[in-house]
């Protein structure tokens, strides 16, 4: 472990999420960094990965021989499935989430705030990707985790008192995993659950009043 680097790699962020997963639980993975999780989960944990385009039981990646144009995840990437997988239509797929049957949901984000609100679908006047399934995914799972780099490319911290970008969901996030640490939005503040090795509170770029320590 190199202290000089002072932040987690993507894979180390992924491992923080994996630590939070109970054996045998069901898990939805959003587009972007979260999809990396599928490849790093130890099979013996028996996690059932859901992708909202209509599959439960995502395993990893296909081989060039087994690849199928009709077998993809919500990021449109080719996947493979494990024994016991199932396919279903989009209405059933989102019903699984909305109805509370998926234990954990991991999404990417542009901003997240102390209230647990998330913004990840548009930057007014600049970029609109659309919300895709994110506005549905944030309601229903018992544990909603947002994974995002702590700072934007322009160096702005993404953990704010209140999001300034249009919201994906209001007060919906339970845990935040960045390259600097793991946080719980409490409504008033970000409770620090864990920091990456060598990272100090000052480096977080979050005003003191917005930080609290885990009890």
């Amino acid at each position: 472990m190199s202290v000089s680097k002072n932040h987690w790699s993507k894979n180390e962020m992924v491992d923080q999420v994996i630590e939070m997963l109970s054996d045998g639980s069901s898990l939805n993975l959003g587009i972007g960094i979260p999809t990396l999780i599928a490849q790093r989960i130890p099979p013996e944990k028996g996690i059932w990965i859901h992708s909202e385009n209509g599959v439960l039981g995502v395993a990893g990646r296909p081989t060039p021989q087994s690849v199928s144009a009709t077998l993809i995840n919500a990021g449109k990437e080719t996947i493979s499935v494990k024994k016991g997988a199932s396919y279903f239509d989009s209405s059933m797929s989102f019903g699984m989430i909305r109805g509370g049957h998926i234990d954990v949901c991991v999404l990417g984000g542009m901003q997240v705030d102390a209230e647990g609100s998330l913004a990840n679908w548009m930057i007014p006047g600049k970029k609109v990707t659309g919300m895709g399934g994110a506005m549905d995914l944030v309601h229903g799972a018992k544990l909603v985790i947002v994974m995002l780099t702590h700072f934007s490319k322009r160096g702005e911290v993404k953990l704010l008192h209140r999001c300034t970008l249009p919201l994906t969901g209001k007060g919906v996030v339970h845990k935040i995993v960045t390259d600097l640490g793991v946080f719980t939005p409490t409504g008033e503040s970000f409770q620090i659950e864990k920091l990456a090795p060598g990272v100090t509170e000052e480096q977080l770029g979050i005003p003191d009043g917005l930080l609290s320590l885990a009890k």
């Binding site: 490849q39 077998l71 993809i72 239509d89 989009s90 909305r98 609109v128 919300m131 919201l167």
Partner: protein
């Protein structure tokens, strides 16, 4: 008795007109009705209202129609990975309505199943809530209304003469829901099978929802983002 089986896309799309609203199945390029989309391009229909999760992707699928400026209105959930749509949206050439994906599919199902409205938490407290009725159950919810269309064009891997369909892997996505919701549902299949070949228990979409069906041809079945085990 009139048969539902048509010779090809040209025969099946005979009455589609400028200005039609058209639902198109598929997630990205997975499960898209390639033949019907290309026929719409050939017909040169204009001013279409496309209802589809992505309105094509990576320059293909419904993006074939975007390139020809055939779509003036789009209802979808995601425009990322679709530069044609992003460009025409920012240039105000296409009026885009973004709908959360789960709400999108449930609104389409509602239209098909005769549900006149439903409450969902998705979008509550966001811009999507603007102009919508809100109501708190265990949490704040929005009233969402059915989404229908003049036509649905969808693709299935297998189908029979009555229109019973079977979809492979994740190609199912929005297609059976759209088939239920549209006034006229036109299905293209990779394989037109005999009645009874799809076990009655395994029919994904009963034929009563299908008005026209034809055997498609020359499928590209493009993979957008091939990722392989070896690359990890």
């Amino acid at each position: 008795m009139t048969s539902k089986v048509f010779k090809d896309a040209k025969a099946a799309l005979f009455d589609m007109k400028d200005g039609a609203s058209v639902m198109s199945g598929g997630f990205g390029l997975c499960g898209i009705p390639e033949n019907s989309i290309l026929e719409i391009r050939r017909l040169g229909l204009k001013n279409l209202h496309a209802i589809s999760n992505n309105i094509g992707n990576s320059g293909r699928g419904l993006a074939w129609l975007l390139k020809e400026k055939q779509i003036s209105q789009a209802t979808c959930s995601y425009v990322g990975g679709n530069p044609d749509l992003e460009e025409q949206m920012l240039a105000n050439e296409v009026e885009v309505t973004l709908v959360p994906q789960g709400t999108f599919s449930e609104r389409i199902r509602a239209a098909g199943m005769g549900i006149r409205g439903f409450y969902t938490p998705a979008g509550s407290g966001t811009e999507v809530a603007e102009g919508k009725e809100s109501r708190t159950f265990d949490m704040p919810c929005l009233l969402e209304l059915p989404l229908t269309a003049d036509f649905a064009i969808i693709k299935a891997q297998k189908g029979d003469a009555y229109g019973n369909l079977w979809f492979q892997e994740t190609a199912r996505n929005f297609s059976p829901l759209m088939a239920m919701a549209a006034k006229v549902t036109i299905v293209e299949v990779e394989e037109l099978v005999e009645l009874g070949e799809i076990l009655p228990e395994n029919v994904h979409l009963p034929g009563v929802f299908v008005q026209r069906i034809y055997q498609g041809a020359d499928y590209e079945n493009t993979i957008e983002i091939p990722v392989f085990e070896d690359q990890n």
